[in-house]
Every structure is written in C-alpha cells, then in structure tokens.
C-alpha cells in the first residue's frame, strides 16, 4: 500500500506491506536507526516516537496507520545541529549508560515537557512509566528531564525541533 509520511520534516512516499510496523518503516525503509526495538511487545518504550505530536510506541503502530501523519524520531530533535535541551540534559546529567533505551526515553521525555513544562520529580517518573531502562536506575534520567525543563523555561523560543515546526505545527517546545 502506498503511504505518504512526513518524518523529521521530510515528506516521502513509499509502497509498504500493511503488516509493516512503523518502527521497521523508520529503521529499514528510511534508514533512521535511532529508534530502537527493545521488547517488541509494547512494554519497554525503546521505540517511542512522536506521531502528530503525541508519543507512541512505534512497535505497536502500523506504518499504514501513519499515512498522512507527521512523525518525529530522535534524529529530528536537534535544531540545526544544536542538541535539543532534552538531549543536552542526558549529556550533562549522565542520563544514559548503554544508551539502548535512550532514544525512546528522550521522545517520551519530550512529550512530558510538552504536556507540562514544569513537572515535579514525581510527575517525571509517572510520565516515564512506559519506558524501561536496565542500566541507570532512572535517577539520572529524571535529572536529565529536569535539566531540560529548566533549560526550556530559560529559552523557550527557537527550541522547537525543526522537524516538528515543519510538520503540522502541533508541537510547541
């Protein structure tokens, strides 16, 4: 089936089998391997991306369901080569160890901050319940999200990922 999808600001059309999952479309058709497959059973959140501004587990969405949609993956977070505050937070606060969960956690974190620019530690932890990390014990991930929140408050303008800005305009930083 032919689908037209905007991913990280770039629109393209492909013929995909209906059973192709969004995560395989991103990784194998588009070559965007930042989005990972962890559990493949909708539990771990390694595969989280934004679909029309909301975070989804791309292992549990069909590519054909995204015909006409605007997708942002971890590769779309940085603006003109500058790390997004969420990415910077993970760098500064040592929010990753092996890094396998990280792309999904960052996309989940991105949405937490979109829904609530000033989350408490508890709210960050609750917001990340769909993301499993086997390495960090979560403390530094929470610090990374806090860092991003502070940073985004300080400089709210100009931090919309290019990809989101180019899409449906759903997302605000």
């Amino acid at each position: 089936m032919e689908i037209t999808v905007t991913v990280n600001g770039k629109t393209s059309t492909h013929n995909v089998p209906p059973r192709m999952l969004l995560v395989h479309y991103l990784r194998e058709v588009l070559g965007l391997t930042g989005t990972h497959v962890g559990c493949d059973t909708s539990q771990c959140g390694a595969c989280v991306v934004l679909k029309d501004g909301i975070s989804v587990k791309s292992c549990t969405v069909l590519a054909v369901q995204c015909d006409g949609a605007n997708i942002v993956t971890v590769e779309g977070l940085a603006v003109n080569g500058n790390l997004h505050p969420v990415q910077e937070g993970f760098w500064e606060e040592h929010g990753l160890q092996c890094g396998f969960c990280t792309p999904g956690v960052m996309m989940a974190a991105y949405q937490i901050l979109q829904d609530n620019p000033n989350p408490s530690e508890e709210e960050i932890r609750a917001g990340l319940e769909g993301s499993l990390c086997r390495c960090t014990g979560y403390h530094n991930i929470v610090r990374a999200v806090k860092y991003a929140a502070e940073k985004m408050k300080a400089a709210p303008a100009g931090q919309t990922p290019t990809a989101v800005a180019a899409g449906s305009g759903e997302a605000v930083p």
């Binding site: 549990t60 989940a108 319940e129």
Partner: protein, 286 residues
C-alpha cells in the same frame, strides 16, 4: 515480530466500514491497536483484513450535558484531557490514569477496550458501575445495548461481527453522588488482578439511594457485585455499613484463579477493593 499478512483499509465513514465488514467475514476492526496488534504480532490473532476506523472523524469526540457521550474512538488521553468529564466523573481519572502507560493511553480507545472485553481491563467495570448505554451500528441499522447485557464472556461481547460500537453514553449522576475506582494492579502487566468501580448516590436523608458496583479481573468477564449493592441500598453510608456490604462483594460472582492469584485470594481482593472504592465514592458524594 510482525503480524501475519492481511489486507488493510481505512474507510472515511461508519457506513463504509460496516459495508467492508459485511463483505469480509475474516475482517477485524482496528481501533487504537493496543490490544489487537500485540495479539497479531504473537499470531494469537490472524485476521485476513483490518478495517481501520481511525480515520472516521465522527467516531472521535466528547460531548457533555445531561450525559457524557464518548465516541468509540475517543482515546484515553482525550478523556483525561477533558476537564468537564473528569470533574464530573472522577472515577474516569482513577481508572484511566492507571491504564498501561502514557503511550498506551495516547493510542488506546474507550470503545476498543469495551469491545475487546479483556477480563482484566479497567473500563469494563467502570462502565458497569456507571450504567453506560452503548450504541452499535451494523447492517441492520443502529441499536442501543445496556452495559449489563454487553459483556458475554471472556473477550466476547454482544456485538455482531459486522457491527461497530459507535458511542458510549454515561448518565451523569445527579444530586449527592460519588464515583471511584480502586485497582490491585498486576505488578508486571499493570492490568487489574482485581479492580472495583463504585457509584453511590444518596437520598436527601443521606441514605444510599442507588449503588452500582462493577468488578473486573476476578472472573471471565466484568460483573456486578449485586449482593453488596443490595446490602447497601437504604443504609447510611457509614464506614461500618460500607465495610459490611463490601464483605458480600464476592458473593455470587464467577471467580477464577490463575498462577498469580488463586480464586480465594481474588475473592478476598474483591472484598477489600470494594470497601476502598465504596469509601472513596462515599467521601466524594459528600
């Protein structure tokens, strides 16, 4: 993992969806996909065609006046975002905010949860307590199904294969009334080992006028705890009376055991979580 091959179509109208379902008896409806796709990836389900109802605008939305009306494709997220719905029916926050995780709530739909009729789903019990009326449309037109008649057995509902659940209508409790949901979540899956939903409405003299209790997780389908409801009607909702009624909550229920919780243990959870849900509902009734 990926599903077995299937044909896919995303009709723009309800009638078109029904026509497609009628043509193909090996077709299944795809809503949020968060029960169906995991099952298809495990090849537990192998429908030959999916009719995606995600592109039908009229199935999505929330209206509230004398009643709360949810389009079947309304996501959990949309319900939680509705200030009007959540303030009138705090039971929706109790239950929906504990379903899966943020990403599951972004995709999962109210109609999908009810139509799937998972024995451990949360909204099944909630809708029983709230006395929801479901609207279904099929080849023979539209009909209304009372929630008490909707759940037939494990993963089985009163819907015909070519019928679409279109709308869920919840009467808004009037006067002094309170709702609450209490769940003992499975530590790994988050689904209800037992979940209890309660609605209490009080007469002007403060006695319990009506009470509806829905129980999920305990048996093959969501059930009403009628013995406890009956015990409470006409009583003052004091802590003692609520506890006495909760003691009868498992009476007459079909209760199953599994590797995680025996039937006896589940029956006990039903009593304990009924008491908690009733106490919360009574406190909210004021």
């Amino acid at each position: 993992m990926f599903p077995a091959e299937f044909d896919y179509t995303a009709p723009a109208t309800i009638d078109e969806a029904i026509r497609l379902l009628q043509q193909r008896d090996d077709a299944k409806i795809l809503a949020g996909g968060h029960s169906l796709l995991p099952a298809m990836k495990l090849r537990l389900m192998t429908p030959a065609m999916l009719v995606d109802i995600g592109k039908i605008p009229e199935l999505r939305g929330i209206e509230i006046d004398g009643s709360l009306r949810l389009g079947a494709m309304t996501t959990y997220r949309m319900v939680l975002d509705s200030q009007a719905a959540c303030s009138r029916l705090p039971i929706l926050v109790d239950s929906i905010s504990k379903i899966g995780d943020k990403q599951v709530r972004n995709m999962g739909t109210v109609g999908g949860s009810l139509a799937h009729a998972d024995p451990a789903a949360d909204l099944t019990a909630v809708m029983l307590a709230l006395d929801a009326r479901l609207t279904a449309r099929g080849p023979n037109g539209e009909r209304t199904i009372a929630i008490d008649d909707f759940f037939v057995d494990m993963l089985m509902t009163a819907l015909d294969p070519a019928e679409l659940l279109t709308r869920i209508e919840i009467p808004l409790p009037q006067g002094r009334a309170g709702t609450a949901y209490a769940k003992f979540a499975h530590p790994a899956s988050g689904y209800a080992v037992v979940g209890v939903a309660a609605l209490l409405s009080l007469a002007t003299d403060g006695t319990v006028q009506d009470c509806r209790i829905g129980v999920t997780g305990a048996g093959p389908k969501a059930q009403r705890a009628r013995a406890a409801e009956d015990a409470l009607r006409g009583q003052q909702p004091t802590a003692d009376r609520l506890a006495d009624a909760a003691q009868q909550a498992a009476d007459g229920l079909d209760i199953l055991g599994d590797i995680f919780a025996s039937a006896d243990y589940r029956a006990n959870l039903v009593r304990v979580y009924t008491r908690r849900a009733l106490e919360q509902a009574a406190a909210r009734a004021g």
